[in-house]
């Protein structure tokens, strides 16, 4: 198992959900314990993938979408996600729409939520200093291995090898969506067409998903209503760098 010996903690990368998931544990715990925690995190991520992947016909979300699983039979996780997506749909005036593609696709919520749950579990397990990066959706807590706040680069919208902003913090959730990796994959549910207008959007908060329902991207960029709503809850970072100084947590809690 590749482990960095020059620092405390453990860093591991695995390919899950069709992307790279990186876990950085910065707590000075025994190696065996760190590996155990990492195993649990990646097992959780695989469980989420198996349950929520829209690429797998046998995933629970696909079976539910086909009517093969009733809501009353659904797992607690699926019911939770459906409820959260419904809440987001209401909170965003319909812009966050798990049915925007015509079929159930909660992927816009699931990845960040999975990272949040992993982070919560790590904290509960006594590993309060960590960074979970699920394909660009980042959740950090505590301090980095160097004992300083985590430093999260925001990928520059036009330069794959550069960052346009660096966020530093001890309790941050950062999610970025952009067209530079997968093209115009974000649908505007009102027009039923790919959203355009922004190349990249980053949302920063102190948590996401429940309980504060901070919405992760993607959502339709370039929509004034959407942008206004975004600004009211979190601080977006559009193509040009802005400084998300106030990361105001949204409403509840």
């Amino acid at each position: 198992m590749p482990t960095a010996m020059t620092r405390r903690g453990l860093c591991r990368v695995e390919q899950i959900m069709g992307t790279a998931i990186t876990l950085d544990l910065a707590d000075d715990l025994p190696p065996a314990r760190l590996h155990e925690l990492a195993d649990e995190v990646f097992a959780w991520m695989r469980e989420v993938d198996a349950r929520f992947s829209t690429y797998r016909a046998d995933s629970e979300v696909c079976r539910f979408d086909r009517g093969e699983v009733l809501l009353s039979e659904a797992s607690a996780d699926l019911r939770f996600v459906l409820e959260a997506c419904a809440d987001l749909w209401g909170a965003t005036d319909g812009f966050f729409d798990a049915y925007a593609t015509g079929r159930l696709d909660p992927s816009g919520f699931v990845k960040g939520w999975a990272a949040q749950v992993a982070s919560d579990r790590l904290l509960a397990a006594g590993a309060g200093n960590h960074c979970v990066n699920a394909g660009g959706d980042v959740r950090v807590r505590g301090l980095s291995p160097s004992g300083e706040p985590w430093r999260i680069g925001i990928r520059h919208p036009w330069d794959a090898m550069a960052t346009c902003l660096i966020l530093a913090g001890t309790d941050l959730a950062v999610a970025t969506s952009g067209v530079y990796e997968r093209g115009r994959h974000v649908l505007d549910p009102r027009r039923g067409a790919p959203a355009n207008g922004l190349r990249s959007v980053t949302v920063v908060g102190t948590t996401w998903g429940p309980p504060t329902r901070t919405p992760p991207p993607p959502w339709p960029w370039g929509q004034p209503a959407s942008a206004g709503w975004t600004a009211s809850t979190t601080t977006p970072t559009p193509s040009s760098p802005t400084t998300p100084g106030s990361t105001t947590p949204p409403t509840s809690r």
Binding site: I16, G18, R46, E47, R51, D58, F80, G136
Partner: protein, 201 residues
């Protein structure tokens, strides 16, 4: 062919920046959200265990990862999916040429670290980095897809990222812990590079 370009050379090496990346460090603003060194509060927001629904390990199908996007069938038949694959390195084990030591970073010894190899639909990619202290001083692709148009793209990749003056070396930023970017599809060079970085630091 656009896809081919994306799959092979679309190196949005944002995650490269694990340790890494970005030109002049001072050119980037830093937003600090919280007081430095604020201790973690185990009972703080988000710590509520009831937030995490479901029991872990409840799904026996959890073992298999989703195939990456690039693992799907090619859009069109590609000429020559041949790959110059270094023998015996096709696993996640390190190549013999990577004598990773437990030397402390304080000692600026040069280490050569080989990343795991990754397949994409056009071939096999494996990246090696040379690390001195906390810096990547050289990156080299041990293996890239070859044959047909892949030769062109692989050449582009080499000229852009490889070597002591390539972007991997030039744009590294040791002051980053991670990078937030749009969800990446499979990117073999980056994944292998990340794997190497993960081992090296």
């Amino acid at each position: 062919m656009r896809r081919a370009f994306l799959a092979i050379t679309g190196l949005a090496a944002s995650t490269t920046a694990l340790v890494v990346l970005k030109g002049s460090p001072d050119a980037t603003q830093v937003a600090q959200n919280l007081p430095t060194a604020q201790p973690v509060n185990p009972t703080g927001p988000g710590a509520d265990p009831s937030v995490a629904p479901g029991a872990p390990g409840g799904d026996p199908t959890a073992g298999a990862p989703t195939p990456s996007v690039s693992a799907k069938a090619p859009v069109s038949p590609k000429p020559g999916k041949t790959t110059a694959r270094p023998s015996g390195t096709r696993t996640t084990t390190k190549a013999p040429s990577a004598p990773r030591t437990t030397t402390k970073a304080a000692q600026p010894t040069t280490r050569r670290v080989t990343g795991s190899g990754f397949d994409n639909e056009y071939g096999y990619v494996q990246v090696q980095i040379v690390v001195s202290g906390n810096r990547i001083v050289e990156a080299v692709a041990l293996s890239l897809p070859s044959g047909g148009e892949s030769d062109i793209h692989s050449g582009d990749v080499r000229s852009r990222y490889d070597g002591g003056g390539g972007e991997v070396v030039q744009k590294q930023n040791a002051n980053l812990n991670t990078v937030s970017g749009a969800t990446e599809t499979s990117n073999s060079y980056k994944q292998s590079l990340r794997s190497a970085i993960e081992q090296a630091f």
